[in-house]
């Protein structure tokens, strides 16, 4: 009887294709994966915590994070979402020439990978890089690489990408419509900005990389900007719109800080009405002091500017004006020729491009660069460049915070006795999921002070 049944069962374990999931796609083109990674670009900026680290905004109704109470943040989504997409393109690309030259597909993925990793290391410090994203190959506990080695690897990656671009657009490109020239300029611009970041820790290397980037060709016009355009579509709308608008969450939770508003007012800056609203009380512009608990009376303060929170508000990530500020600083430091005269030229042009970006035209530019608080003077050149850069980078909190840590300007305030943190602490679940490497990275960087939000990053040397 049992023998008979055993025979019957012989073919019993074959089920064919029934367990192949019909609800998911089995193929993806490289450009589709890259496009999905691009959808995560707004997340690099649309985060309230970034605004608090740069002290652009202060909380009005429920002050909590602005008091630097939560030192840690998680990089998990950045790794398992856009970076994993990009890594898949780089390691297992689908050969689809119909999407544009393969070389460009891969080069674009490299540039985006470098951009995301640069953002991550500038926020947290040492993070997994060389062993990261290899879960499928069996490494689920990657080692944390030093920030210096990550910077070196990213320079190499970007330099390689720059040299690989060929003519021919790729499809599905949300940012540049597939134009390889703009991607190439972005790649070199990233090298430029990363080089500048090293100005205090490794000035010689910084100068070399800076010069190489300029030679290779950085951004030359606003159309080269890395901007993510939100859409007037609930599937792709601005985070700030989603938070603020009364048709969504209705949270009027942020006001520009007193430091920002006063800096703009002192110079009659045309960007003020874009950055902030006039306060309900009397139509003037009054910023909320950072660390103040008075924000709950909304009528007394200017609130987050309307232009920043429309449904399709653009997210400015890497801009031409930013490049001009970098060139101004590089010239002031003597890395490029021309001295203070050339530095002033770049500086003035940077402010002009910033006005065009934020207000749509350069009305008031001449008056602005003549204002005493803005006019370039050789004695204070670096400080002025830093402060005007901070004004331009409005809403890109994490980038402004990185530049503040590097230059020390503008003079941000302490709150509850706490200074602005110098990094974000690692996500607490790393201590469970990758405990040994997490602990090794902490003791290597910060000795006995633990996962310290006041620990200094490698390039933060002042």
């Amino acid at each position: 009887m049992l023998l008979f049944s055993a025979v019957l069962l012989a073919g019993c374990d074959k089920f064919g294709d029934i367990n192949v999931n019909p609800n998911l796609p089995s193929k993806a083109s490289n450009t589709q994966l890259i496009a999905n990674a691009q959808l995560m670009l707004p997340v690099l900026q649309e985060v309230p915590q970034g605004e608090f680290y740069a002290q652009y905004l202060m909380e009005t109704l429920y002050p909590n994070l602005s008091f630097y109470t939560e030192p840690s943040a998680s990089f998990y989504t950045l790794y398992n979402d856009p970076l994993m997409n990009l890594e898949t393109v780089l390691t297992k690309p689908e050969i689809l020439p119909a999407d544009g030259p393969m070389a460009n597909q891969l080069a674009v993925a490299k540039v985006l990978k470098a951009y995301f990793f640069w953002h991550i290391t500038d926020r947290w410090g040492d993070v997994p890089y060389s062993q990261a994203l290899k879960g499928k190959e069996g490494n689920t506990t990657p080692v944390y690489d030093t920030q210096e080695s990550i910077y070196n690897a990213l320079f190499a990656l970007l330099t390689q990408a720059t040299s690989e671009f060929v003519a021919g657009n790729i499809t599905n490109d949300i940012i540049y419509g597939g134009n390889p020239d703009r991607w190439k300029k972005l790649s070199n611009t990233l090298r430029l900005l990363m080089a500048l970041r090293m100005s205090e820790v490794a000035p010689d290397k910084a100068r070399d990389e800076f010069q190489k980037a300029v030679t290779a060709g950085v951004m030359t016009e606003m159309k080269d900007n890395l901007t993510f355009n939100n859409l007037a579509d609930a599937n792709n709308e601005s985070y700030w719109y989603n938070q603020w608008d009364e048709d969504r969450l209705g949270r009027e939770w942020w006001a520009p800080t007193e430091l920002l508003v006063n800096t703009l007012k002192a110079a009659n800056d045309p960007r003020l009405p874009v950055y902030a609203t006039a306060r309900d009380k009397d139509g003037t512009y009054v910023g909320l002091p950072y660390g103040s608990l008075d924000g709950s009376t909304l009528a007394n303060f200017s609130l987050l500017g309307e232009a920043v929170r429309t449904q399709n508000a653009p997210v400015y990530l890497v801009t031409y004006a930013q490049v001009l500020f970098a060139l101004a600083e590089g010239t002031k430091r003597g890395w490029l020729t021309g001295g203070d005269a050339k530095a002033k030229e770049y500086y003035d042009e940077a402010i002009k491009q910033s006005l065009i970006q934020w207000t749509g035209n350069n009305t008031g530019h001449a008056a602005l660069i003549a204002e005493p608080s803005v006019a370039y003077t050789p004695a204070n050149g670096l400080q002025q460049i830093a402060i005007q850069r901070w004004v331009h980078l409005y809403m890109h909190g994490f980038e402004a915070w990185a530049e503040y840590r590097r230059t020390g300007f503008p003079a941000l305030v302490t709150v509850d006795g706490k200074a602005v943190p110098t990094r974000q602490a690692y996500p607490a679940d790393e201590s469970f999921n990758n405990g040994d490497n997490y602990r090794a990275a902490i003791s290597r960087q910060f000795a006995n002070s633990g996962d310290n939000p006041y620990g200094k990053l490698w390039w933060d040397k002042n």
Partner: protein
């Protein structure tokens, strides 16, 4: 002997508008302002089984039963998808052999069973998923259909999971079944249990599925029953039972020592429910007070506010020490009265309701009088403020001070210090009260009915005692999809309900 062919097919299609309706009161998918959310889904699974059962009885005292089953499941990879599992159970009714008058029935039982289980559908393939669609603005107008790599690391090597259960027990009844004692000891080893495992996302994946080495569950169950009074007018039956269960993760996988069951995040602060290898199941992890290592007192910062740790402090297991019940039924003439009590000793849970009540200033403690006779919300200069006691972190001296109530409750305790909102889950609850009346045949005249029983039932009539503060119900912690209850968040009020029950016997 028998066989079974199981075929499950499930499909659904859903659609919802996004961004509003393009015409008022036009409730149709075509009304979607932005691209609507549409999904269709199909699930198909087959299991083919064969089984046999054999049972023996000898002299009406010795009994032995054995079964064997083979399952073939479509959800595992061929080669790993056919599994056999047996079970044996034996019992010996020794009361007839013992011939001891007070013992009216006695049985010893032993069993060993294996149960195999497979995986949910589609877990061995499918690494891509459809992402958001982005429409480029004019003049381009191109629709970009994005796809992403899913953050689940697929594991095609999954094997079936097996549970090995051992059980031994004795059932005793004394004095003509007036007194009973049942005792069971059990041990269950779950080998190769199929578990989702959280990964460090730096690997590119947030989770995977593994066959976990071994998870062990053991415990005892005891029940005592008695009929202290039994006569034609009044009968009282009582049943008291308790059980104690201990679970432990003995082994997970190579290099893996932690299993994350669940986590929650609020205001950027996390708490977790983890199980660690070698420790009791279900440890609650979250932010705790920082304490002085010598005295155990809370450390205070330079503003005299309590200091707190990162979200890595282990508060110990959430599982109870013992659970049980006590049931009493009384029959008084034709009335039957029943009361059922549920109880639990030990266990803990995290209460978000308590935390938010204090954070938002609704809880009475946030507006009480301090020991200077002033309301804690009054300015400190006027004598108000919450009194804190602890060791100053900078001077290492003992400090007693008054701090601003709003900052204390809102920004510190109510957002970060989860230790303050951990509650003991012990309780004694009256679950059900019942009052019934039986109409017997002779009362019912000519109707072709044997009997009718009409009863009024009250469910959850009262919580007799609980350790957690009033307003929280530790017996109704909803675990959702989780197997362990460890927290409540805006728990709905427990409802007391009344009903009528009618049983008609034909």
């Amino acid at each position: 002997m028998g066989g079974n062919a199981y075929h499950r097919k499930y499909t659904y299609m859903t659609g919802s508008t996004v961004g509003g309706l393009n015409s008022p009161d036009y409730f149709n998918l075509a009304a979607s302002v932005d691209r609507p959310d549409i999904a269709n889904y199909i699930l198909e699974k087959k299991i083919r089984s064969m089984y046999g059962l054999v049972s023996f009885g000898f002299k009406n005292r010795y009994f032995l039963e054995a079964t064997l089953r083979n399952d073939n499941s479509s959800t595992l990879i061929q080669g790993n998808n056919s599994y056999w599992y047996p079970s044996f159970s034996a019992s010996y009714v020794f009361s007839d052999d013992l011939k001891w008058k007070p013992l009216s029935y006695g049985k010893l039982r032993l069993s060993y069973a294996q149960a195999g289980s497979d995986l949910g559908v589609y877990q061995t393939n499918g690494d891509l998923a459809i992402g958001t669609v982005y429409t480029l603005p004019p003049p381009d107008g191109e629709t970009v259909n994005t796809i992403y790599v899913r953050d689940v690391l697929l594991n095609p090597d999954i094997k079936p999971a097996f549970a090995h259960s051992y059980e031994a027990g004795v059932d005793l009844k004394f004095l003509d079944n007036r007194l009973g004692l049942d005792f069971t000891w059990y041990l269950q080893k779950n080998v190769n249990q199929i578990l989702p495992l959280t990964l460090s996302s730096t690997s590119g994946y947030a989770s995977t599925i593994i066959n976990a080495g071994m998870i062990r569950n053991k415990g005892i169950e005891v029940s005592l029953s008695a009929t202290p009074v039994r006569n034609s007018f009044f009968t009282w039956q009582t049943l008291f039972n308790f059980s104690r269960n201990r679970s432990m993760v003995v082994e997970l996988a190579d290099n893996v020592n932690v299993y994350l069951h669940d986590n929650t995040r609020y205001s950027q602060v996390d708490s977790y429910l983890n199980s660690y290898v070698g420790e009791e199941f279900g440890s609650l992890i979250g932010k705790a007070y920082q304490r002085d290592s010598a005295t155990g007192m809370i450390l205070l910062d330079n503003n005299n506010m309590p200091m707190y740790t990162a979200a890595t402090h282990n508060f110990g297991t959430v599982l109870p020490d013992m659970t049980g019940g006590w049931q009493n039924t009384f029959r008084i003439w034709k009335f039957d009265v029943g009361a059922m009590i549920d109880w639990q000793k030990g266990g803990q849970f995290f209460s978000r309701t308590a935390m938010l009540a204090h954070k938002t200033g609704i809880a009475p403690a946030t507006a009480e009088m301090n020991d200077r006779g002033k309301n804690v919300r009054d300015p400190i200069a006027d004598g108000g403020g919450v009194k804190v006691k602890g060791i100053s972190n900078s001077t290492k001296q003992y400090v007693e001070a008054y701090v601003d109530a709003k900052t204390y409750y809102r920004t510190h305790l109510g957002t970060h210090v989860y230790e303050e909102w951990l509650m003991d889950a012990s309780y004694i609850k009256l679950r059900e009260l019942r009052l019934g009346y039986t109409f017997e045949k002779k009362d019912l005249g000519r109707l072709p009915i044997q009997s009718i029983n009409l009863a009024f039932i009250a469910r959850n009539p009262a919580m007799i005692w609980q350790k957690a503060p009033k307003g929280l119900d530790p017996s109704e912690l909803s675990a959702g999809a989780n197997s362990i209850s460890w927290r409540e968040s805006g728990q709905a009020n427990t409802v007391r309900s009344y009903g009528v029950n009618l049983i008609v016997n034909f």
